[in-house]
């Protein structure tokens, strides 16, 4: 008997919600065997406690197969373990310790707010001076998140097209391993050279600070590690956040009363940022592999078997919020799993929160009449990517 397919978000069912199959699975806590798009079979965990348990225990559930190898043809679970996103334990923590001071430390973040605010303000000014309808995803969301991460790392405008090229290939489900290598090589080549340059001519950017910070440690970061880490920030940093801005706005504007809450009090943007990530995040799930014979919700899982955690479904569990299926931008942020959980939890989560908060606050203040310019059912949605959201979002204002 063939296995049921992993339920995936689809544009014709509901662009804001997890596939309907999850409601029953989640309430029973049942862990079932599913066939994933890339051909591997996995156990599917869809309730909050189960998802949290798997992601939170890197000892029993390794990140080694790659977080999206159930979705991405380019990144087989048996590919060489070539970077920290697939490491576990102390080696992985060593890398995270080198990220944290630059991108998650509260004092460092305080220095970054003005940069994000300036970039957002310029984008809104440009938007307001343009004809309507305005293509929000490409011209606004992507432009802001690309500028933020590129400025953080010190990538000059002339080289920023390398990010789009790399992320496009990395997140597209049908990319072949060969195509992925070709798309990533120019970015890696550029960064590798940038590492060499900043070693002799440091600036105030994240890359230079990482070099300086790790120089006095027991094991300074190598050129290869620095290249890998900064490529990860650049590639993981802009498309995810841009899609969350666009997908978040179309969701907000479509749920009666939610945009109005923001307009009435733009400071609601802080909770709205977390709420949108909870509501929409990681629709295609994350992959792990059991390192020992174990159990989740009473289901036995054998060493080496794969586990997919349905993050968006877990975040809609009444165990997290009684009304978890409702979007409420004023909801006080809870322990949701939209940025993941455990040692691999999103490195960029504080930066992403900052970008989402700034953009929502600024739009609610400067463009309170913002609306989607076309009927919802005429929007096209990304279906070939692990980063979900509308392909484009035409907006208008008055």
């Amino acid at each position: 008997m063939s296995l049921p397919a992993l339920p995936l978000p689809s544009e014709d069912v509901q662009p804001f919600d997890p596939p309907p199959e999850y409601a029953d699975l989640r309430s029973s806590g049942e862990v079932i065997r599913v066939a994933c798009p890339t051909g591997l079979d996995a156990w599917l965990v869809s309730d909050y406690a189960g998802v949290r348990e798997v992601l939170g225990d890197g000892r029993r559930f390794s990140a080694r197969p790659g977080q999206a190898s159930h979705m991405l043809a380019s990144y087989g679970p048996d590919a060489p373990v070539d970077n920290f996103t697939r490491w576990d334990g102390p080696e992985h923590i060593r890398i995270r310790r080198n990220f944290a001071p630059q991108v998650t430390h509260a004092r460092r973040l305080a220095e970054l707010w003005p940069l994000v605010e300036r970039i957002t303000d310029e984008a809104i000014t440009a938007m307001l001076a343009s004809p309507q309808p305005y293509p929000l995803h490409s011209r606004f969301s992507t432009s802001i998140t690309t500028s933020v991460i590129a400025e953080l790392i010190g990538v000059p405008p002339a080289e920023r097209h390398l990010l789009g090229q790399a992320a496009g290939a990395l997140f597209t489900t049908s990319t072949t391993p060969q195509e992925l290598r070709e798309a990533l090589t120019p970015l890696y080549t550029y960064l590798y050279q940038a590492v060499a340059t900043r070693r002799v001519q440091p600036g105030d950017d994240v890359l230079s600070r990482m070099i300086e910070h790790s120089a006095d440690s027991d094991r300074p970061l190598t050129d290869g590690e620095l290249t890998e880490m900064n490529a990860a920030l650049l590639v993981a940093g802009f498309d995810t956040t841009a899609s969350m801005i666009t997908h978040g706005l179309v969701t907000l504007l479509n749920k009666p009363g939610e945009w109005e809450k923001l307009v009435a009090d733009p400071d609601v943007a802080t909770s709205a940022a977390d709420e949108l990530v909870r509501y929409l995040g990681v629709g295609t799930g994350l992959l792990r592999q059991a390192t020992e014979d174990t159990e989740i919700n009473g289901q036995k899982i054998k060493t080496g078997e794969y586990v997919v955690v349905a993050v968006q479904s877990g975040n809609r569990d009444p165990a997290l919020h009684a009304d978890a299926d409702a979007l409420d931008v004023a909801r006080k942020p809870g322990p949701h799993l939209g940025f993941g959980h455990g040692a691999h939890a999103c490195v960029g989560q504080q930066i992403a929160r900052m970008e989402l908060t700034t953009v929502l606050r600024a739009l609610a203040t400067r463009v309170p009449t913002l609306r989607v310019a076309v009927p919802l059912d005429s929007l096209r949605w990304k279906t070939d990517s692990v980063v979900r959201g509308p392909v484009e979002l035409p907006v208008a204002w008055s």
Partner: protein
């Protein structure tokens, strides 16, 4: 209440310092959690509970 943290497993995500700034900070060098107050007043209980839940590395323990 008494709070403890396991600094060896902290990934420096900073959620604790954002959630309960009176109790947690991060060191400047590695952004690893610093426990500012290991016996915080009852008024901090809700914030500390939230910090426990929001710590991705599950390294904060609350002992009632």
């Amino acid at each position: 209440m008494k709070v403890t943290v396991d600094r060896d497993l902290c990934i420096g995500a900073g959620n604790c310092a954002l959630t309960a700034p009176a109790v947690f900070d991060q060191d400047v060098e590695e952004a690893v959690v610093i426990l500012l107050d290991e016996s915080p007043p009852e008024s901090e209980l809700v914030a500390v509970r939230q910090a426990v839940d929001r710590c991705p590395a599950a390294v904060i323990q609350l002992h009632p």
